[in-house]
Structures are given as structure tokens and as C-alpha cells.
Amino acid sequence: MSRQWILRRILLVIPAMLGISVLLYTVLALAPGDPFSELAQNPAVPPEVAAALRAKFGLDDPVWVRYGHWFTSMMRGDWGFSFVSRMDVDTLILQRLPTTLIVIGAAQLMAILVALPVGVLAGIRPYSVFDQIANTLAFIGFSLPTFFTGLLLILVFSIQLDWLPFVYRADINATGWKFYWEHIRQSIMPVMVLGLFQGASLVRYVRSSVLDVVKLDYVITARSKGIGERKVVTKHVVRNALIPVVTLVMLQMPVVFGGAIVTEQIFRVPGIGSLLISAMLANDTPVVMAVTFVFSCLVVLCNLIADVLYAWLDPRISYR
């Protein structure tokens, strides 16, 4: 894979991010409600005062002027101020982003570690007992929405069995290994819920992709070399089968983030997903804008990773 090709891909991210920010900003600006809409309804605040405040904060300027302001301060590292949390938006996000990244990352990792071998085994032995069990479980996992599996897990493991805490606490007052242990304990269910959903669809993708690849000519060529079935599968089938899977997984990233938002809300995980929901309910526009933008950045970043991975898996992409 050539360095030049990767560089070009990275440079393409810039216009993508610009476009996304314009779009997000416009949509949010058009949406009803802003930090001062409550002021307008508050009888204690005279309308002239409200109008003066609006003018002072530039809320009545045309959208593109406001976008310009937003963009320049954004570039300077000033992400605005949350009227609700009384805090700088960037501090707020930086506080909460790691939790989200850890939960999503752990869930993805778990999904990949389980789904890859299961999908491959199911694909090379289609319609075997193993395949049928894997398929059924994947179908169930795929059809159940995260809010349902989330509540189900809480019901079983927190309420019935009382093994795991069902509210995620950011303020664990313990030290050393106990601190980590508590964090792991409270992350298990959110990670499971997200991982199950991801893993289930991944199993199906991997299986069908493997099923397509095993009948291709070059797999028969590989067998004819006498290299052994295990190596035929791991070397010649899996890598090719992953090429379409990478694309599918990355196309699904927005759905994953959506699932993460719901999951964070259910388990009260203090990540940027639950932050987004509370900010939306409170009309905290700067936070909504910033979190959506961060989510978009994550999606774009995932796409970049996918492109690089894709090119690494398939030399036809970057060698022409």
C-alpha cells in the first residue's frame, strides 16, 4: 500500500468534515428552540431584554455569519459554553468522551473476537448443526433492539441475581484494583448489549461472505497445492472474505453510535451519548452541536480506518 495513497485519503477527510459541519450547523439552526426560547416565554423577562440578549449573542444574525463565528472559535479551541452545565463544552466533552470510547471499543472488540471465528466456522460448514445454532443466535441478537436487551440484562443480572450494578457510577470511591474492578463490573452489561448487537450482524456478514469465497476457483487452487484445509481457510478464504465485511461494518458505524446512545441512556453511562440526549432535552444547543460533530468525526475516522484496512486487505485498491 503506498504512503501517497494513504495521505490522499487523509486529506479527503478535511472537505468531508467541513461539509458535515455546515450541514449540522444549518440543520440545528433551522430546528425550533434555542437557549433563549425559554427566556421569551418567561413572563419575568421583558421582551426588550430578551431581544437585546439575542442581539448581543448574535442569535439573530444570518446562519452563515453564525456558522463563521462558530467555525473560527471552534478552530481556536473554543467550543462554546454549556448554559445548562455551566461549563465549557470542550471540558464537558473531554470528560465524557473516554467512557464512550471505552464502552464502544470494548463492545466492538468483543464482537469481532467472537463473530469472526464463529462466522468463519459457520461459513465453511454451512447447514451444519454449528451453523444452525450460530445462525439462530445471530438472528435473535440482530432482531432485538438494544433497549430491549439492555432492560432484559438489567432484569436478570441486576434485579433477579443482583450480580451487577445497573447504574453506571462515575464517582467510585475506591482505590487500586478495586477501582478498576468496579469499573469493569459496571461496564459488563453496556458492553454486552452493544457487543451482542454488533456481533450478531457481524456473524451474518462474515458467514455469508465466507460462503461466497469458499466456492471460488482460487480456493480450489489453494487446496490443490496440498497446504491443508486449516491454512486454506485462514490464509486464502478469510482475508478475501473480510474485504466486503469491512465495508459493511463501517457502513454500520452510525447505527452503532445510535445504539451506543441508547445503551448509555439505559445504563446511565456518563458518556457523550447520554450527554447528547440530556443536552437535546435542555435545548443546550452548543453541546448538541459539539457532540453531534464529535460523533460525525468518529464516523469519518472509522471510514478512514475502513479505507486503509480495505486497501491493506485488497491490493487491487491501491495498486493500479
Binding site: Y218, I220, T221, S224, G226, I227, P315, R316
Partner: protein, 323 residues
């Protein structure tokens, strides 16, 4: 006496499908001696590919199944062997190349990697030496600039060049038998001749035997010593090449020979190519009797009643026909 490498007796490879049993190979007998080229001819769908892949046990089972017969490789039956034992024979003693050079190579590895993989495995060499071996093989099959080309991916080669790569890979362990399953069918006419020529150059150099599967009679006439004609999963005629073309006995063989495009006849224009009318019948639960009957101008009652046996009509010349 010349050593007999491969002897197939009454091989039956059937496929279980939703519609019933497809008797793709239904009692095939053939023999290949050391250093000879055997042509296996027949129209599409006659079971040539299944026969070839059965020899190396490259048939997916299920849906495939060996229903009977023996595949003797230098006297030893391959059918009962497990995968591990077959892997000592694959590539090292019997190699195979396929019809579609565009899809026979793995697109995600360099051709050098793919050739080196065989060399490293069977000759117990390190990666570096195996790569050198791969470059040497590319040079042997006349790929220009082999030292650089080993690092190229299959999509950087043309169809003809890929078939050369396949040949290089197949020959890298100097097998005793090369099975070539329609190696030139997918290629341009000019390239076809070059690939056939290369195969025979390699055959002379390594002293191997070739099982050349084709549906082009013309190719057989130019390159083979003996010919086995297959029709609908069965061998219908087997003879030395001169005798087969001189005195074809089976109506199907006669039809195939008449359908060879000939430069001298085409020049007269009036004499058009005589293709055999009709198509190969379905191999799904075939009826008893001669499978060619529906297309045969000499067919009579006894032909459909039972399958004629393979009779020796002259030394080394076998025919499956009541005539």
C-alpha cells in the same frame, strides 16, 4: 515397460442435489502412462472437470460423493486416503491448472507468494529461498523480468500471463502428472497456441505426463498421444490419437471430428461446420441405455434398452457402442 501412473476404474462421482442425484461421472475408466499426453475430450457438461478434480479429491463432499470405482495412483487407491495423505500427493506428484486464469489466483497475494507457498511447503525451504524459486519458475515459463514480477499481484497480469503463472506454480514441485483442465479455453486464439506450446516444452523438460482436458478436437490432434472421449459422464471411446482420427468408431467421436474447423474446408465456404445437433442430456437420474441415443443417427431399439459395454475393437482402441 512404461510405468502406468494413473489408472481410473469405473469411477462414479455423483452429486446429491435437491432435484435428485446428478451422475456427473458415472463409470469412467482411463489410464495415463509415464510421460504421455492423454487428451480427454467431450462437450461442456460431460463430466471432464469432475473427473479431473476427483483425481485430486478436490470435489466438495457433500454434495459430491464417490459412488464407486478406484483411482489408482502408481498402484495405490486414492479414494480411501484422508486429506493429510492426499496433501502429500497434491502439487508434489499431481498438479492441476484450471480453465479460468483470471480467477484461479488469489487476488490478495503476490504471484511470488502463491508460488513460494507451494515450494516452501513441499521442498521444506525458507521464505527467501522459496521466493527465489518462484522467480526461477516465472523465468522458466517465459515471463519477462521475473525478479520484479514475483512481487506483482495477479491483477497486474494478463490472462495469458496468469495462465503462465499457474503453470509455473503447478510445475514448481516437478509433479509426475499435470492435469490441465481446459487451460486455453478462456484465452485468445494466439495466446492459446503459446500456452499449449509452453506446456509441451515443460513436459519435455520435466518428463511429466499431461492429462489435457479440452473440448477442442483440433488441440487434441496436435498435442496428444492417446485420447479418451467422454460423453454424459461416461467414456465412449479411447484410442491412440492417429487411430481415433483415422478410424473413429463411436458416432459421437465422428461428430466431434466433423465439427473441427478446418482452414482448407472453410476456404471452400460451401462445406459448413457440422455441429452435432442436440445437447448433452441432463445427468440427473439418467435413463438406462446409451446416453447418446437421443442424438445418434444410428440409434435403434437395443441402444435404449441397456448401456453398451466398453469393447476393445483393436489393440488399445475401446468403444462403447452396439455398432
Amino acid at each position: 515397460m512404461v510405468e502406468t501412473l494413473l489408472e481410473i476404474h469405473g469411477l462414479k462421482t455423483w452429486f446429491k442435489t435437491d432435484d435428485g442425484m446428478v451422475r456427473a461421472v458415472d463409470g469412467v475408466d482411463l489410464r495415463i502412462d509415464h510421460g504421455e499426453t492423454l487428451g480427454v475430450v467431450g462437450e461442456s457438461g460431460c463430466g471432464k472437470t469432475v473427473t479431473a478434480r476427483s483425481v485430486l479429491k478436490l470435489i466438495d463432499m457433500p454434495p459430491g460423493r464417490f459412488e464407486g470405482g478406484r483411482i489408482l495412483w502408481r498402484g495405490r487407491d486414492l479414494i480411501p486416503l484422508d486429506d493429510q495423505e492426499m496433501n502429500k500427493i497434491r502439487a508434489r506428484e499431481i498438479a492441476i491448472i484450471f480453465q479460468e486464469p483470471m480467477t484461479s489466483l488469489n487476488p490478495v497475494y503476490t504471484v511470488g507468494d502463491q508460488i513460494a507457498e507451494v515450494i516452501a511447503l513441499h521442498q521444506k525451504l525458507g521464505r527467501k529461498q522459496a521466493m527465489e524459486g518462484a522467480a526461477e519458475m516465472l523465468r522458466l515459463v517465459n515471463i519477462p523480468n521475473p525478479q520484479h514480477r514475483v512481487h506483482d499481484y495477479p491483477h497486474q497480469f494478463s490472462g495469458g500471463m496468469r495462465q503462465r503463472v499457474m503453470i509455473a506454480m503447478a510445475l514448481s514441485c516437478q509433479p509426475k502428472l499435470l492435469i490441465a483442465d481446459e487451460p486455453t479455453t478462456a484465452l485468445d486464439v494466439t495466446i492459446q497456441a503459446q500456452i499449449l506450446e509452453l506446456m509441451h516444452e515443460m513436459k519435455d523438460r520435466f518428463g511429466m505426463a499431461i492429462m489435457l482436458i479440452t473440448h477442442a478436437m483440433g488441440v487434441v490432434a496436435e498435442t496428444c498421444q492417446r485420447v479418451t472421449v467422454m460423453y454424459a459422464g461416461k467414456v465412449v471411446e479411447e484410442a491412440p490419437v492417429g487411430e481415433l482420427f483415422g478410424q473413429p468408431r463411436h458416432p459421437y467421436t465422428q461428430g466431434l471430428i466433423r465439427s473441427i474447423p478446418r482452414v482448407d474446408r472453410a476456404a471452400e465456404k460451401k462445406q459448413r461446420l457440422e455441429a452435432i445437433s442436440g445437447t448433452v442430456p441432463s445427468l440427473l437420474d439418467p435413463p438406462p441405455g446409451c446416453r447418446f441415443a437421443a442424438r445418434c443417427r444410428y440409434a435403434s431399439d437395443i441402444c435404449v434398452r441397456e448401456m453398451p459395454p466398453l469393447k476393445e475393437v483393436a489393440p488399445g482402441h475401446f468403444v462403447r457402442c452396439v455398432l
